[in-house]
Every structure is written in C-alpha cells, then in structure tokens.
Symmetry: C2
Subunit: 219 residues, 2 copies
DNA sequence: GTGTATGAAATCGTATACGATCCAGTGTGA
DNA sequence: TCACACTGGATCGTATACGATTTCATACAC
C-alpha cells in the first residue's frame, strides 16, 4: 500500500533535514511543503509535529516551524548524550554480534584506516557512521536503539553547519575501534565494553571541545 | 493566551496516560476525544502524533491509536535506559546544586526514611520521584534533561499496570540516596557521581529483575 | 532621523465534509 | 459445523474553507 501523505511528508522532511538540504534555521512553511508534495496542509502539520517531538524542528505557535537550531554547544551536548547511550547499546548488543557482523565492522574499520593515507573527511564520516551502526544493529533493547537513532539524527542534522575535522583524531579513532572489536570478540564483560564504547565517543567529544577552547566533558 | 486546542489535547492525553487513567492498550478514538474537548479531530490527531513520537502511544494506520503496551520487559528496559541517562544528568547537575536544593533533597529523603516505619508504597514512590527530580533540576544539558523526562514519563505510564513493590528495597534506596548526597556535597568528581547515581538505579532494576526471576542487567 | 500607528499579505489554527478503510456480525453453501 | 463472502457501521485520512494571528512595509507624527 502506498504510504499515507502524512508518512510521505514525514519521510521527506526527515531526509532533507538529516542530509543537510534543510540547514538549521530553515523555515518550514506548511503551504509550500504541501504544494511540493501535492497534498493539503493537514498531513504536513502532523509530520511536523512528529519531527518536533523528535527534536529535529522547533515549532512556535502562530509563527511556524524551523529546522532546529544547532550551535556548537548543542552539538557537544548531543555528542555527550550519544556517548552514554551508544555505550549502553554497544554493550547490550555485544552478546548478539555474530561473526559476519564482526567481520563487517573490521572491514569498515580497515577502509577507514586506508583512507588515512589520502584523507577524505566526508567519506571517513560516512564509514564511521556505518561502523557504529553495525555494532548495535541487533540491540535487544528497542528503547535504547531508538534513543541512539535520535542522537545520530540530530548529529546528522547539525553536522552540515557545524562539522569540523580534527587533525589526528581519525588515526586514534581507527585504533579505538579496533580495540573495541577486540573486546567484543573476546567476550569481555558488558560493563567493560560499555566503558570502552563510551570512552571512545567521549574522547572524540573532548577533542572537539579542546579545538573550540571549551573545557572537557566531566564524564 | 489560552493554549491551542492541539496543546490542550496533548496535555490532557499526556496526563491521563502518565497518571494511569488510560492504561496500556486503552484505545484512543479521535472523535471521542475531540468531543470531550469540544474541538474537531484535527488538533487531536496532532496531539496523538506527538505522543506517538514520544513513545507514549502506538499508532496504526486506518486503525487508530492505543496507549503504548508495556510488558515487564519494556519496563525493565526503560529502567535501564533511565539508569544510564539519569546518572549523566545527576553528574552534570552536581556542580550547580546549591545548598537549598541539597537541603530539600535531604529533607525528602528523610521523609522517605520516616515512611519506612509505617510503609506506604504510593507515597514512597511520589517522594522518590521528587527526590530524583530535585537532583537534576538545573541540569545544564537540555537534551539530557529531555531524555530523563521521557524516561520518567514512560515509567509513570507503565507503573499503574506493572508496578511491583519489592520488600527491603526501600530501606536500601534511602541509604543509597544519602550516599549520593554526600558525594555531591563533597564535590566528588563527576564520573564518581555518575557511577553512584547509575548504580543506584541499576541496583533497583536488578531487584525487580530478581523478583521476576530474570537475569540481572549486564550494566 | 527615530519611533509609532496602520494596514495588507502571509501564514497559521481549526471546523467541517466526505471518501477510504477496517472490523464485526450475518448469512450462505459445502 | 466450518469457511468464506457480504454488508453496515465505526473510524480513519485528507481536502477545503475561513477566521485568527503574526509580520513587515509604509506612512505619519514628533
């Protein structure tokens, strides 16, 4: 069955926001979106309400919706939250990661290592996303998985406007990934895996914070 | 200004779901809710979309919305997630907790201790909620605060149907609260506070899991 | 030149209407 | 008795319409 108009509108907006077509601050005008989709405003309103509840857009009564503003601080905050939740997701997923998945993760990480020679920040980021998502693909806790997804969505939405590449981090990142995979392969205790996964994201976060002359994250 | 109909509908439903009036599985019929509120269905639909995005209701196309189902597993999962996020929120808030707040927290905990003599589970739960919320009231990270709130909402929504009191936990809980407050008062490092806050919720969670003959949480 | 009133255009908020879809209960034939 | 097509009612999905609110440009007073 064809998706409902409301669903279509939701997907369209979600995609355009997360892929950077609509940058933070972009004004979402109901009528215009409805016209583009060839539908009325009612389904579009619903879609926007959902996006609002997910934190991707802000909504002001009688004024309208805009793509959620994202300053560096919010970016950091999101990274921080994501660090915590991702750590949990990875630890919970670890017992269910099979050999294929592990191999895929190693292969992605190798591709990232290869990129270090002739660096391409955009491609590196893509691979990085893939790597992380492979790890908790079969997380048994749908609630945590949903929170991780939300975190990544926010990051993606912000990245276009505030992404900075930090020299040297890429190399460390690849190493940290490898260590994490080793832990998982060795069936390390969940708490240890969680700690490693969290530390990895926190280290990245702190690199960003340092680059912006901000104090390091306390966690 | 009077809240919009959409906002009213949202608040009404949110409240009824979280306070247990509408238990999981309860069918939310658009027309009926609209009639009760004296408005049309359009604002009600928007409200339900928001609640759906927050995980409080499930929505099936052409069928309708129901209050999100909650089995014991989901309850546990939510507790687990909350443990992690709450730990972070508490740690981040600690540097901003002033003397008044600390005193308030101690006073609430004392009231909980007093309740142990002539136990009242409902009142104890209320105080427990208050205690936790005092701790991260001025968390500097709005994103984390939002996630904590979401977690509590889910718990509240589920509690009416699946709340179980575990004998003996109350006493330990009060002790753990006191230790946490001591750490905060002593300006302990954030990581240590986070660990204590997380451990507190995880211990509670594991008590529930044990009571249900389920394996303990790995984190 | 600065600040304030005014009005029109843009946009939002919601009611109403109606076709589309689902569901439960009924009847029919094997 | 059971399986299955049918049908009526309940409910959802969306278009359209219009009043309400905001915004911004313009005109005017000081």
């Amino acid at each position: 069955m064809a998706p409902s108009k409301s669903e279509s509108a939701y997907r369209l907006l979600h995609e355009k926001i997360t892929d950077g077509t609509f940058t933070p601050g972009y004004r979402l005008v109901l009528g215009a979106i409805a016209a583009e989709l060839g539908c009325s405003v009612v389904p579009v309103r619903e879609a926007i309400r959902r996006l609002e509840a997910e934190g991707l857009v802000t909504f002001e009564r009688n004024v309208g919706a805009t793509v959620a503003a994202a300053d560096l601080t919010l970016y950091m905050h999101t990274m921080q939250t994501l660090a915590i939740i991702e750590g949990a997701a990875t630890a919970l997923s670890a017992p269910f990661i099979d050999a294929d998945q592990l191999a895929a993760a190693r292969s992605i990480n190798q591709a990232m290592a290869d990129l270090l020679v002739d660096f391409d920040a955009v491609r590196f980021t893509e691979l990085n996303n893939e790597f992380h998502q492979v790890l908790y693909r079969n997380c048994p806790n749908p609630h945590i998985l949903e929170l991780v997804q939300r975190g990544w969505n926010r990051l993606a939405a912000m990245r276009s406007s505030s992404f900075i590449h930090i020299p040297g981090r890429a190399r460390e990142s690849v190493k940290e990934h490898a260590s994490l995979l080793d832990l998982i392969e060795a069936n390390a205790p969940a708490a240890q895996i969680e700690q490693a996964a969290r530390a990895h994201r926190t280290t990245t976060l702190n690199a960003y914070l340092a680059a912006a002359n901000l104090p390091a994250s306390p966690l």
